[in-house]
Subunit: 407 residues, 2 copies
Amino acid sequence: MGIKGNIIYGQSGGPTAVINSSLAGAIEASKEAGVKKIYGMHYGIEGFLHEDIIDLRDHVKDAADISLLRRTPSAFLGSCRYKLPKIEGNEDVYEKIFEILEKYDIQYFLYNGGNDSMDTVKMLSDYARMHNKPQKFMGVPKTIDNDLPVTDHCPGYGSAAKYIATSLKEIMVDSDCYGPYRTSVCIVEIMGRHAGWLTAAAALGNNKPDLIYLPEVNFDPDDFIKRIKKLAETKSSITVAVSEGIKLEDGRFVCELGSSSDKLDAFGHKQLSGVGTYLAALISDKTGIKARAIEFSTLQRCASHVVSRTDADEAYNAGYLAAKKAFEGCTGSMITIKVESRAPYLVSYSNFDIHEIANVERKVPLEWITEDGTYVSDEFIAYARPLIMGEIEPYYSEGVPQHLSLK
Amino acid sequence: MGIKGNIIYGQSGGPTAVINSSLAGAIEASKEAGVKKIYGMHYGIEGFLHEDIIDLRDHVKDAADISLLRRTPSAFLGSCRYKLPKIEGNEDVYEKIFEILEKYDIQYFLYNGGNDSMDTVKMLSDYARMHNKPQKFMGVPKTIDNDLPVTDHCPGYGSAAKYIATSLKEIMVDSDCYGPYRTSVCIVEIMGRHAGWLTAAAALGNNKPDLIYLPEVNFDPDDFIKRIKKLAETKSSITVAVSEGIKLEDGRFVCELGSSSDKLDAFGHKQLSGVGTYLAALISDKTGIKARAIEFSTLQRCASHVVSRTDADEAYNAGYLAAKKAFEGCTGSMITIKVESRAPYLVSYSNFDIHEIANVERKVPLEWITEDGTYVSDEFIAYARPLIMGEIEPYYSEGVPQHLSLK
């Protein structure tokens, strides 16, 4: 393949449970191709600008390390939320980056992230093209939010969806344990500010929540309360899955309502409560029914103990293929997944122009949301089911999962 | 063993991830002893008073069902939070219970729960003794809180501790992913109103939180802020594990402080925020450092996907032995665990007078908390480590864990 120099790999944005599988794939592809130095950016492009660069062969030494790396949650290399400035007027930033690339003889630059992070790949490949630089820049898709365009789905989503479906089912059987002797509503708040992919995953368990609200559809508080009252006529345990990003018809986030009155925290600061807390309080106020809120919070993206094998394998393949494509001379492109067949589940990988991907958000198709806006359709289930299939067992030692770390 | 009639089993109080392992043990012991009818109370003693009784042979048919039952979180039979009234003046309640027992020819009554639930065993065995009733009443220990006296530890605790250690580690590596570029504090709020056993489990991971606060020691907000400031001088990611039940020197719960000002929710009701939310706001106010709170919430007691095999096996044995003891004529007693050796880990089972157990709470010994009150000692680690060892893998189907249910 005519390998010309060294490779560097960076992780960017919020981590996922399988983010390091992509890194593992890229490391193995680089070793197979005979790349001399396999570098890692410590804390993404932000660390790179401080020349914080790691020699990955020192840290991921053998097949056992690769196995452990694939079981390690959060960004092994450290991540960042740093957006490169526009090229015009900020040439110094880009010159610095390319100076560092040249200093380390880096010819292949792989960047693993979501929509925002793909902007880094776009800017660098654009700059390289403008200045006839030889380096190749490839994007490796990663986001629990599943909102990257072009690709059928995104590595990271399947595992987060599996965690949500698993944990929600467990919460539901727990909520249900007092049967007819206690009526209560449990609001489970799930990540996803603009797209409802994660919240939709609530429908993948074998106990299903009663209502599912995605940000793709306007939320009507009056209709919501009506539905809760109706459900309470026949059920003692009611579960609602709700996206943190649901909005009213007038465009305001529902979570803002909690702070729209003069609600202050104990220190006099305006407080933004979660949408779950707000809806639980709304239910108690309007119906008198006991309601509580649960937030899945960070565990949605870092639960290495509930990982989809399908997702982890696809993450690995995306990293592997991004390296391979870069070695073949490809640049300004992101690896994408196409589902050739859902049953049996068969995929193919390709790559796509980064300009069509960076900063674009893909939402849940409205056809996959029921007409009344309170559930997802069977089409969504058929889409998402294969993505959560299979498991990767953690390596337990001393009773807790073991991970690989940089120190 | 001279089996005389039928057996009934009830689950009471908050569920655990291994509560149904005890039920499985009791079912198998009953089958082995040749008991004709193995009944379950649907929703504990509360359902029993409504004669809501299940024939368990209809629902747990074979070894495969037992395996699935052992992997099922929350109370398979349904639970209750119902405390029997004192006998004097409420003889009608007790007469009704014994009428039902006689109607179903129930000679053995097993009740699975914590301190409060053991009160039911105490009251019924007392009543039986007073009125020369032949039925035997045995307690099966169960609580994630680990606050039952006499027994070295309590089934349910090991799995909750394993979940906490596992999830906290994952949250910590996630929090740490931006390295020196972002300073933040994460407060993780853990269950335990009066005893700190669960919060102490935060020390069992291989990444350790910076501070651990148990309710056994008074909490000093000024000292807390001083420590956070000090930590922030050298660390960018700080993690604090805190029990929901920590108190000030004057006896007030810290979580009450959040509502001590005129803090109202969006509907004008006084709002009780969690201690985590309060402390995060306190940090932001006093230090300007970004802080957030995570609550493990219900998943601490229902995460069947992170179960300690040691705990599950002990839960099974406790149920098995409670049935066996009842068949032998024992009554008014609860099964207890004694650790004969911590390395290798060897236990023996015994049983103890329920009068010494019901309504008594056992706290973390003060010697196991560091002198400055901000951590647990190695003695606690040595105590708890064996309890979280080993795993029980869920049976996954369709990508999510499968459970046994009554319908």
